[in-house]
């Protein structure tokens, strides 16, 4: 119980709820779009750089490489069963986009979990940032490949397939590229580099995360409201309860999968929780951006709302402490 309460008492999480309340009471509060985008670039830069420096300070052995491999495998595996489960009740495009969404990860959920561990005084390893960065692309590729394979032939003709574009969208996507690049630079420059950028990368991190989550709360609550107002257009006839159910069931199921993997890999308490959170979270920045280009037939009102407006707050509020309790109990 106390883990839930202490999680609730952290400023970043409370600012997320402040954002939600702003939408509920119809306040006109909003973070200017370009400032919010800059905050998200800052977070990726800071996470990547810190992870890279941590990598430079740790020694990368076989265990680490195996964990990275398992992480990549899970990000490619999750989309497969998600796709086949959903294909029966949703369009092929929507099923593929949701599959990619949940195979990929949410950097902010990861960061919140890492902050939660810091508050609880539990150690975790820097190479998990590398795991996060590596888990974005495979899910995107799998989602697109599954769609191309199972879409009816006339659609496939209308949308010519380009491997070059696929790789570029999955590997050089702005978020993936920035986090990988910052990690590399952190790794090259090591602690000497960190000493130069520490006040920005470490000092401001939690404060700026508060402002970012305030924005996320606003955006998530708006999506949730739009979603409930089953209205005109493509939204019509979406099986809303299926979507809400899936957005809650998928992270829980994936968390158990992540827990199993962590147990087999023999990870420490902190590392196990972070791996679980990676598998359980769904993307709402990198994947939607890729899907708009590769699968414009899929409805962002479905996949984006599920990951941003339901799974994300669920993981933040209940998921992280629950997964932690489970980890403690089982490992």
């Amino acid at each position: 119980m106390s883990v839930f309460l202490s999680n609730l008492g952290s400023p970043p999480l409370l600012f997320f709820f402040l954002g939600v309340i702003a939408v509920v009471v119809r306040s006109d509060l909003e973070i200017p779009a370009q400032a919010a985008k800059f905050l998200s670039l800052y977070l990726l830069f800071a996470i990547g750089f810190k992870g890279g420096v941590a990598l430079a300070e740790s020694n990368i052995d076989g265990g680490v490489l195996l964990t990275l491999l398992v992480a990549v495998a899970m990000s490619a595996l999750v989309p497969v069963y998600t796709f086949f489960l959903l294909k029966k009740r949703l369009s092929t495009a929507d099923a593929a986009a949701i599959a990619a969404t949940y195979g990929s990860v949410s950097a902010v959920t990861f960061v919140t979990a890492a902050g939660y561990l810091d508050m609880q005084g539990v150690a975790w390893s820097g190479y998990l940032v590398a795991a996060m960065a590596l888990m974005e692309s495979p899910a995107i590729i799998m989602g697109i490949v599954l769609y191309k394979r199972y879409a009816s032939s006339d659609v496939a003709v209308a949308s010519p397939f380009s491997w070059r574009q696929l790789l570029s969208e999955s590997l050089f996507n702005a978020s993936v590229f920035l986090i990988l690049g910052s990690m590399l630079i952190g790794w090259i420059t090591g602690p000497a580099g960190m000493s130069q950028v520490e006040p920005l990368v470490k000092g401001l991190f939690l404060g700026l995360l508060c402002l970012f989550l305030l924005d996320m709360g606003i955006v998530a609550a708006r999506r949730f409201r739009d979603f409930r107002q089953v209205g005109a257009g493509r939204h019509k006839g979406q099986p809303v309860s299926l979507m809400v159910g899936a957005a809650l069931a998928i992270p829980v199921f994936n968390a158990l999968l992540g827990l199993g993997a962590a147990a087999l890999l023999g990870l420490s308490e902190g590392d196990a929780l972070l791996l679980i959170v990676l598998v359980a979270s769904g993307s709402y920045i990198a994947v939607p951006a890729a899907m708009r280009l590769a699968l414009p037939e899929a409805n962002p009102g479905t996949y984006l709302t599920m990951s941003l407006a339901i799974t994300f707050p669920f993981n933040l509020l209940l998921g992280i402490p629950a997964y932690h309790a489970l980890t403690r109990w089982l490992l």
């Binding site: 909003e30 779009a33 919010a36 985008k37 998200s40 209308a158 949308s159 606003i218 955006v219 708006r222 739009d226 209205g231 005109a232 257009g233 493509r234 939204h235 709402y284 920045i285 990198a286 939607p288 951006a289 708009r292 280009l293 414009p296 037939e297 409805n299 962002p300 009102g301 984006l304």
Partner: protein
Amino acid sequence: MKPCKRIEIVIETPMAQTLTELLRQAGAPGFTLVPEVRGAGDRGERRADELSGDSSNCLVLIACDDQAMVDTILEAVRPLLSRSGGICLVSEAQWLRH
């Protein structure tokens, strides 16, 4: 002053680069692009509030004084609009030569 067509296209931001690439290939004489516009249409509201740029549109204006080119542009744009939504309007104007 020379008569010309004003082509106005609203399309979602992630498609902007594809569109300008199409225009270049079609040989359009130029374009002006207003980024980060909001909107609503058949596919619901687009609030321009997401980090991926996924929920914003852009507004593209093309002045073209060659009817054959106008047709080429419209034919190139049509499938893009079918796949990912948006609108395209064509109107008459006079182009000030300088």
